[in-house]
Symmetry: C2
Subunit: 238 residues, 2 copies
């Protein structure tokens, strides 16, 4: 099967979070996930509610859609999900987009290896903290990190909702101190109006900053919000 | 003279902008600037209003103050100004802090070379656009960039207030395409209350995103706000 299940292609827009925050990029969002995080902000990728909207696309069809949307304005593409690392069929897509001269970023929770992962220019591994309700398989995560040990741009990103999540992030940071760590403000208020959400998220960002600033474990870390939620609330496709 | 004119030392806090946005860091702000940007948010470093607060400090005194504030919670220090690259006397400070195992970031407009610049881990060159009222000496800027050509972490950051600033940023980007470019929302509303400022800055960020997204010159760029202004308004020392 050389087709990829795609739920959204949009852009150009800015990446709102993590290692490439602010980057002008196009987004490809694949369907399907091996996790069901309690606070997932893209649950439509795995909970069946948009099954009828999944578009099985070839590499060339994906490129054509990207080009129709972005024309000659972009050179960076972000692949997100769901968990795109579930898909062996992304290999030909990665090859195709690299041949077009694109820089590729991808986010995955680090629960599955794919041979095409080293070809991604910017790999974000985002293991999920206790608040998600998911368990991290550290053997698999460690194996993936080991396979990527010569890759120049791999980082860890952990969403933080509470103190238990912070304790989890400390453990991950101490286990993989060689990887840049991004701590990200969690957003579980998916029904909020934009203004209330903004005030709530700023308060949560300030809380997270306060926690991290006093920590002697988190010395060299980055603490970031999701900028897109500041600008566009919970709106999709931006 | 082995002392450095210091106006502020504070932290740990997060870096609110640019290449290391979100980074947990300490700040050292030096006094003195060769520019007088119309919208400077740190004009007290050069306009004489805080001349009496300048503290001439040795490397060891600076380190002691940092350690009193941050104890064992930090490993990253940002040197800002004013224009810290005016100061040959920063050399011993850079050496001292590197010996302590610190990662160092520095921002300068790129109007002056110092032999210690290559020792800075993360160098942000921020030439000033037309709205500043300043002129860029491209010969000097190019010379600095050339001297740093083997440095792994140098970027350009340009504050954008209007379309003329964007046109300037295009020229800089086309002249130095090898350097990562950060376009930053300008904040000239230094008397605003926090809530009005936040709404204003978000609108300006959305405007900047819109402009950059349709550009075929700005393909591979990052567009960012000043996060600290979202969280703390125009407050100093955070």
């Amino acid at each position: 099967m050389n087709k990829v299940p795609v739920l959204e292609i949009f852009g150009p827009t800015v990446q709102g979070e993590g290692m490439t925050i602010g980057q002008k990029t196009m987004f490809i969002r694949t369907a399907g996930c091996d996790y069901q995080c309690s606070w997932c902000d893209s649950a439509f990728t795995w909970n069946g509610t948009e099954k009828q909207n999944i578009n099985w696309m070839t590499a060339e069809e994906i490129w054509n859609t990207l080009y129709e949307l972005g024309g000659d304005t972009f050179s960076h593409i972000t692949i997100s999900g769901g968990n795109p690392a579930l898909l062996p069929s992304l290999g030909p897509v990665v090859d195709f987009l690299k041949e077009k001269g694109m820089t590729l970023a991808l986010e995955t929770q680090g629960s599955k290896w794919q041979s095409w992962l080293p070809l991604i220019d910017e790999v974000t591994l985002s293991p999920k903290p206790p608040s998600s309700g998911m368990d991290t398989d550290f053997t698999i995560l460690e194996n993936i990190i080991d396979h990527l040990k010569n890759h120049p741009k791999v980082c860890l990103k952990i969403v933080i909702f509470d103190e238990k999540d912070l304790a989890y992030a400390e453990i991950v940071h101490q286990r993989f101190p060689q990887l840049p760590l991004y701590l990200q403000v969690g957003n579980s208020w998916l029904e909020a109006d934009d203004e209330s959400l903004l005030q709530y998220l700023l308060k949560r960002y300030e809380w997270l900053i306060d926690q991290v600033m006093k920590s002697t474990v988190f010395k060299n870390v980055k603490v970031l919000p999701q900028l897109h939620a500041y600008v566009w609330g919970n709106k999709r496709g931006v």
